[in-house]
C-alpha cells in the first residue's frame, strides 16, 4: 500500500494533463486517426512526429476542438483535460480553446497593431480590469515570446509588417497572453529560417516551465532538441510513444526506426 502511494506520488510530479482514449477521427469517409491512446504530461514538451498525412496535425486539432470548425470532421472516443472530457456536451469549445491555446504553421497575425494582436485574447476574455493591466499583460507576453526588445518601440505598428520569424513569435505571444494551460503548436517553425527557428525553439523550452506544450514537427532534430516525450504517428495510428531519448536511440517498433533513420516517410 505504501509503495503504491509512493508510486502515485511519483507520478504526481508528472501529472497527466491530457489523456486521449480510443480517439478516432473521420473526415467524411476517410478514417484519419485510428484508436489513438496517449497521455500528455504537464510541464512537458511532447513532440508529434510522422510522415505527411499521418494524422498528427489532425490529432493536435482535436485537443482544442478546432476540428469542430470543419463540417465533415467527426471525432469519437474521449479526450480528457485534467480528467474532464472535452467532448462532453457541457463543455463550451470556446472556453476550452481559451485554456488550450494554439500556434499555427503559418504565422497569422491579425491585420491590427502589434499591441492589439497580443491584447486580442485578454480583451475578449476580460482578463484585465484597466489599461495599465492590459499593458502589463502585453509586455509580459511579448517578453516571454522573446520579441519585446524588437517591438517595444513600435507597438502600434501593424503586426503584418514584421518579418516571418517575428510574426511567429508575435503569434506565440498572442497565444500565451490568454494564459492557457496547454499550448499546441502545429509545425511552428516550418515557415521560418534557421535563426528564427532557434529562437522559437529556445522559447518553447522556456514555456515548459508554465505550460504543457505539444508540438507537431517534421524535423526530427527539432523533436529531439525540444521535447521530452515523442509520439510517432504513421497512417493514422499512434505507433510509439515514449521518452524522446528512447524513441530516437532505441525505438521498440521497427516502423519508428525506419522513419527515424529515413527509410520511410
Amino acid at each position: 500500500m505504501n509503495t503504491m502511494n509512493m508510486l502515485d506520488k511519483n507520478l504526481d510530479t508528472k501529472t497527466t494533463k491530457i489523456a486521449a482514449r480510443d480517439v478516432n477521427v473521420y473526415y467524411g469517409d476517410s478514417h484519419a486517426i485510428k484508436d489513438v491512446n496517449v497521455e500528455i504530461d504537464a510541464n512537458t514538451v511532447t513532440a508529434f512526429i510522422g510522415p505527411s498525412g499521418c494524422g498528427k496535425s489532425t490529432f493536435l486539432r482535436c485537443i482544442n476542438r478546432m476540428n469542430d470548425t470543419i463540417d465533415v470532421c467527426r471525432v469519437t472516443g474521449d479526450i480528457l483535460l485534467d480528467g474532464e472530457d472535452i467532448y462532453d456536451k457541457r463543455v463550451d469549445p470556446v472556453q476550452l480553446r481559451a485554456r488550450v491555446g494554439m500556434v499555427f504553421q503559418k504565422p497569422n497575425p491579425f491585420p491590427k497593431s502589434i499591441y492589439d494582436n497580443v491584447a486580442y485574447g485578454p480583451r475578449i476574455h476580460g482578463l484585465s480590469r484597466n489599461k495599465a493591466e492590459l499593458d502589463e499583460i502585453v509586455e509580459k507576453s511579448l517578453r516571454r515570446a522573446a520579441i519585446w526588445e524588437e517591438v517595444k518601440d513600435r507597438l502600434h505598428a501593424p503586426g503584418t509588417g514584421l518579418s516571418g520569424g517575428q510574426q511567429q513569435r508575435l503569434c506565440i505571444a498572442r497565444a500565451i497572453a490568454t494564459e492557457p494551460e496547454v499550448l499546441l503548436m502545429d509545425e511552428p517553425c516550418s515557415a521560418l529560417d534557421p535563426i528564427a527557428t532557434a529562437q522559437v525553439e529556445e522559447l518553447i523550452d522556456e514555456l515548459r516551465a508554465n505550460y504543457s506544450v505539444v508540438i507537431v514537427t517534421h524535423s526530427m532534430q527539432q523533436a529531439a532538441r525540444v521535447s521530452q516525450k515523442t509520439a510517432f504517428f504513421h497512417l493514422g495510428n499512434l505507433v510509439e510513444f515514449g521518452p524522446t531519448g528512447q524513441i530516437f536511440t532505441n525505438p521498440d517498433d521497427p516502423r519508428t526506426e525506419s522513419y527515424i533513420t529515413g527509410r520511410i516517410g
Binding site: N64, R97, A98, F104, N108, G121, I124, T178
Partner: protein, 537 residues
Amino acid sequence: MKPPWAATPKSPQHIAIGWGGSSAPVVFLDQIQPVFFAAVTPELLMPLFWLVVVLLALTALGFWFGRRRALASAQGNPRHLHSLPVYYGANVAMSIAIPALLTLMVWLLAQPLLIENRVSGLIPQELIPESTSVGLVMSDVRRLAEGLDEAVLQNVMTQQEARSLDASTSDVRALLGSVGVALGSEVRPEVLEAAQQYRQLSRTGGNAMTLVCLLLAVVGFGLSIRRTHKDFRARNVVERGVLALLILAASLAILTTIGIVLSMLFETVNFFGLHAWTDFFFGSTWAPNFRGDSELSILPLLWGTLYISAIALLVAVPVGLFAAIYLSEYASPAVRSFAKPLLEILAGIPTIVYGLFALLTVGPLLLKLFGQGDNGILGLSWMTGATSVLTAGVVMGIMLIPFVSSLSDDIINAVPQSLRDGSLGLGATPSETIRQVVLPAALPGIVGAILLAASRAIGETMIVVMGAGAIAKFSANPFESMTTITTRVVSQLTGDTDFASPETLVAFALGLSLFVLTLGLNVLALYIVRKYREQYD
C-alpha cells in the same frame, strides 16, 4: 427595302469581282476616277458580303496551303519544323486576312466622309434654304441616289439611263415613287446631278476597294507562302499577332471612354458659351423654359441625387452586408448554394421593373403609413403624394442589396481561413471573430463595394423617374418629391427640342458632372481597396 441580293441572283464568281448591278465587265479602269472614294450605298451590300466571303475563303485556303508547304519543307516530318504545322497555316491566314480586312474597315469608314465632302461642293449656296444646313440637302441627295439604285435593281431603268437622267425632261419623283422610294419634294437639277455624281463616286470607290482588298490578300498570300519554310519561326509571329489583337481590344475600350468624355466635353463647352457657368455651379434654382431666361443650376439636382443615394445606401449597406456575413460565415453550403443565386436574381431585374415597384407598391404603401386623411394609418400627414425621396431611395436600396452583398461576400470569403483559425484558437466565438478579425480585414474591400454601389445609385434613372417625381428643390424632408441629375438629362434631351439652346445643351454639362462624380467615387474606391489590400496577404 428588300435586300438587294434577293432581287438579283447572280453567280458568286461574277459578283465577287464585279460591283453593283452592272452587267458590263467588272472593273473599268478608265472609270476609276482620280478620286475613287465613294459612299456606301445599299447596293454595295451584296458585293461587300461576297468580298468578305472571298477573303475568308482565301484565308482558309491560305491556312491549308501554308500548313502543307511547311510540312513539305520538312519532308513531312513535323519534328523538323520550328513550330507546329498549324502555326505556319495560321501565319499565312493572318497575312491574308488582317491587312485586307483592316483596309476594308478603314475604307468603309472613310469613304462616306470623303464622298460627302466632294459632292456637297456641287450644291450651290442659294439652293440651301434659310435656317437649314447643307446636311439636309445632302440627305436629299443620298435618298435620291438610293432611289436610283433601287430603280436600276428593279429594272425600271438601265444603268445608262440612270446615269443620263435629266430632271428637266422627266419626272424623277414619280419614277422613283413607282419603285417605292418616296421623295419629299420635286427634284431639282442640281440635286439630281449631285446624286448621280454620288452614285458614280460610290461605284468607283467600291470597285477600287474590292480591287485593293483582293490585291492585299493576294500579296499577303504570296509573301507569307514564300516565307514558309521549316526554319521560319511561325509560332512567334502568330503569337505576336495575337498580342496585337489583345492590345487592339484594350485600346478600343479605352478610346471609347475617351471618346465619350470628349463628346460630352465639347457640348459642355458650347453650353458654357451660351449660359453663365456661375449660374450652373452656384445658382439655386432649376427652372428651364424656352423663353430664354432659364435658371439652370446643378445644385438642386445634385442635392436630390445625393439625398436619394444616401437613403438608398442606408437601406442597401446594412441589409447587404448582414446578408453577406450570414451567407459567407454562417450559412451551410446547402443554404448558400441556393440563397446566393436567389439574391443575385435581384441584380438581374431591370431597373424599370423596380420603378414600377416603386410607383405601384412602395409609394402607395408609404403614403398609407405617413399620408394624411383617410390614407394615413398613423395620422401623421407628412406625405402628400406617392412619389417621394423616400420611395425612390428605398426601392433603389433594394436594387443595390445584391450588389453590396455579392461583392462583400466575395471579399469576406477572400479573408484567409488562417486568420479565423487564429482567432478561434484563442477562444473567440465565431461572432467575435467576424466582428474583430474578419470584418476589419475585409473592410477596405467592403468600403470599395459600398462606393461602387454609391456610384450606381448616383447614376440610376428609371427608379427616380417613377418613384421620386420631377420637382427640383432643396429640402430636407424625405417625404417630398425631388429629382436627380440623371432624370433631368433625360427630360432635357427628349421631346421637341432645339439642339442649340442652353436648355438642351445643359444635359451634357449635367452628364459630364455626373461622370466626374462617379469617376471620382470609383477612383476613391480603387484607391482604398489597393491601399489596404496587402494587409493580410
